[in-house]
Symmetry: C2
Subunit: 445 residues, 2 copies
């Protein structure tokens, strides 16, 4: 007897198979029962005909509660009406366990109720679909990097210093060596990797101790960060473009069923083909001024609206939305005010007030998914910035070494995995984009 | 002008190309110079003929120090004597930076000297080779899981409780929610994933706050943990066998050059084909008794040797070596004394003193690389064990839920990535198996 998974069922038409899974739902109609069985790879409808099975089998099905675990035997048949859909003509069942009354029912539940039962909520078709898309996104990223000569370079989580200040870092006691900080970014280490291996990437969890409960923030999130020797900012944008097109198009191809279940308008994703619009920060500001989108600043009396949007400020959600709304692709905003960006970004040789950074804004208002830059490769310039930013110079000596011993132009970027999942799956809230979301008010289950 | 990487150089025979990289070494012989250039993907020897290049080019090469960054132009030619080796007949060079005197020289350096300069040591051909093998191992693992229907299920790093007690856990303050512990294993969460998705795996960093400075321990190490619904211990061993054969054979095929550079005896790896020997713990004990290998117990007076090796004790390095030495493949030791194993392992139905666990010992004395088991799927049994192990029952209610709502037989295992790299690359010490090793006395650079 072949034990098969629902996802492969079309290979077994007219054959007798066993499926191991859980009862997702059951309808009955007189002498017929229609159990829906899920096995993690998909859901199949079974048909139980009272006259065709033993009394024991009929009674067993009558007893089954939602999420009861079972092994069913039957013959695979094509659905009489629906093209590409298969059914199982059941002739036997073995009950593994009758489930206790399942707490998640088809009625609407509050989000906190569901998050408290995340270990069970994960079984719903929607959550299963999101996680399958996440799986496809990450595998596609890794395949792209591998096929394009990048070497995986797992950077450390425990770090002695902070990439950009310690105020948003988690820390832990580290034996008798004082505190270790949990990494916010593998970039500085990846730069050492690029000097050794040419092109590297890191993909792992990163941590931010920010007490913000927005729809787009997690305290623990996964990030993919490639770093390339001999790449300038334009090479960086070329890579981003090719990379994003590849990932989106393959996910679209391999996860069409999941995206449909999620109600995703896939035509929006079909548009994601290079070239993408590249606009400077200055051009982005022009769009904001033309559309009369003000900067909103919190004051003691509430909020102040500043018009026209002042040069030098970073964008918030309304600005990102206004910038992307006239484009149907990701928008690359490059050449930023240096003051608004990190110490390690290279300045534009033609204007020292400008940093060679690039933010990629997803279409449809999903906001920033990628931040990248060309890195400062001049020893004296970098040392000056570290001092200006009041970072501990001694702890950055190893990073400065990369500019002492064969410094080269180099660039990289960081992609937030959950933000990517959010965009591709069209999610309202980032908490569904990872199996067990961690936010300031939640570390359970 | 084609910019190419050294690894692809054979595609450009007789063509003019540019290579961007670093000077690894240079020899001169009168009117000839032979610079070796590394670009992260490989090393190529250049040929500079004084009479064929400008005076400026000749002088530039005379100035170059080790690790200076350069762009060289030249024509790719086959090495006159060595099959499959290519040279670059150089006609131009652009110096990006003359490196300061490089601290790592061909002379022998102490390990701590090198670990203090890990960001530079990574550039050595040996370290580059190890990281390329690590990249291949991890990509192969991910491809295997993907191709076999496993869904990536990234489990959380921040956890409210401990899989196996809190004494070896790192912790961090988590807003106003008390402490969060850094995960030692994603298994418990992966079990929830298996109930939702059938077959899942997690591959990420895990943490152990053990103050041990052995050749095989890191405080931060990567682990791959698959978890499968409807798998018993025998299915688990079948998977381990197929998985290990696939990973080892593909790495062998794709990284032969790197393994040769590392001096690896590849014929030992060629043997890694299924079936692998499966012996019970009892049979392993028999081997130890036959070979007269005692248990060594530390006492106040030093050490005590206990003969014959007593039933119920776990194995140390000398025992693992004695068990594997008569086999040329990984050895699966299964059915362990329950007392020596974790609370979540299922007991053998035919003998409650035995847990359905399996340890996989790598050949050649590399020790345990995999630990796996069938999990306890009976609610009452699991609850009893949690209480017996004095774990906080309340915090395990979500884990018990997996046995309330459609419990099924399930199994999984954990593979230590750095131990795998150690074995495949034949390393003396695990610190070379990861870009920046973290041990009790080191969190820098």
């Amino acid at each position: 007897m072949q034990r098969v998974s629902v996802s492969k069922i079309s290979d077994y038409t007219d054959q007798e198979v066993t499926i191991n899974g859980w009862l997702y739902n059951i309808r009955s109609s007189g002498k017929l029962m229609f159990p829906e069985i899920r096995d993690g790879s998909g859901i199949i409808q079974g048909v139980v005909v009272k006259s065709a099975v033993s009394e024991r089998v009929w009674e067993d099905f009558s007893k089954l509660t939602q999420e009861s675990s079972i092994k069913v035997k039957g013959t695979v048949s094509k659905h009489p009406k629906k093209e590409g859909v298969f059914e199982l003509q059941i002739n036997d069942v073995e009950i593994i366990q009758i489930a206790e009354p399942y707490p998640i029912t088809p009625k609407e539940h509050g989000v906190e109720f569901l998050m408290d039962r995340r270990h069970l909520w994960l079984r719903s078709p929607r959550q299963v679909s999101i996680l399958r898309v996440r799986n496809e996104i990450i595998q596609t990223i890794r395949d792209y990097m591998y096929d394009n000569g990048f070497i995986l370079f797992d950077t450390p989580i425990f770090t002695p210093n902070a990439c950009e200040g310690t105020s948003t870092l988690f820390s832990t006691e580290y034996f008798d060596m004082g505190k270790a900080y949990l990494s916010q970014s593998g970039q500085l280490y990846a730069e050492a990797g690029a000097m050794a291996l040419g092109k590297v990437y890191t993909l792992g969890p990163t941590f931010r101790a920010e007490n913000s409960m927005t729809r787009r923030h997690l305290t623990e999130f996964w990030m993919m960060e490639p770093e390339m020797a001999f790449y300038d900012i334009d090479d960086d944008m070329d890579l981003i473009e090719d990379f994003l097109e590849n990932v989106v198009q393959r996910v679209l191809k391999n996860c069409r069923k999941e995206l449909e279940l999620l109600g995703r308008n896939v035509s929006k994703l079909e548009n994601v083909k290079k070239p993408f619009p590249r606009i400077t920060y200055d051009e982005a500001i022009e769009i904001l001024i033309k559309k009369d989108i003000p900067l909103i600043r919190k004051t003691s009396n509430g909020e102040e609206q500043i018009r026209p949007f002042p040069w030098g400020e970073d964008f918030g959600a309304p600005h990102e939305e206004a910038i992307v709304e006239d484009f149907d692709k990701p928008v690359m905003v490059h050449r930023w005010p240096a003051e608004a960006k990190s110490f390690y970004m290279k300045r534009d040789p033609s204007n020292p007030k400008i940093a060679l950074g690039v933010d990629v804004l997803a279409p449809e208002g999903f906001g920033e998914i990628i931040g990248g830059s060309q890195r400062e490769d001049n020893f004296a310039e970098l040392e000056k910035r570290i001092i200006e930013h009041q970072l501990p110079l001694e702890e950055f000596q190893w990073f400065l070494d990369l500019r002492r011993y064969g410094s080269v132009p180099h660039s990289g970027f960081g992609l937030g995995i959950e933000r990517m999942v959010n965009w591709i799956c069209n999610l309202e809230n980032i908490r569904e984009a990872i199996p067990f979301a961690r936010r300031p008010n939640r570390i359970t289950p």
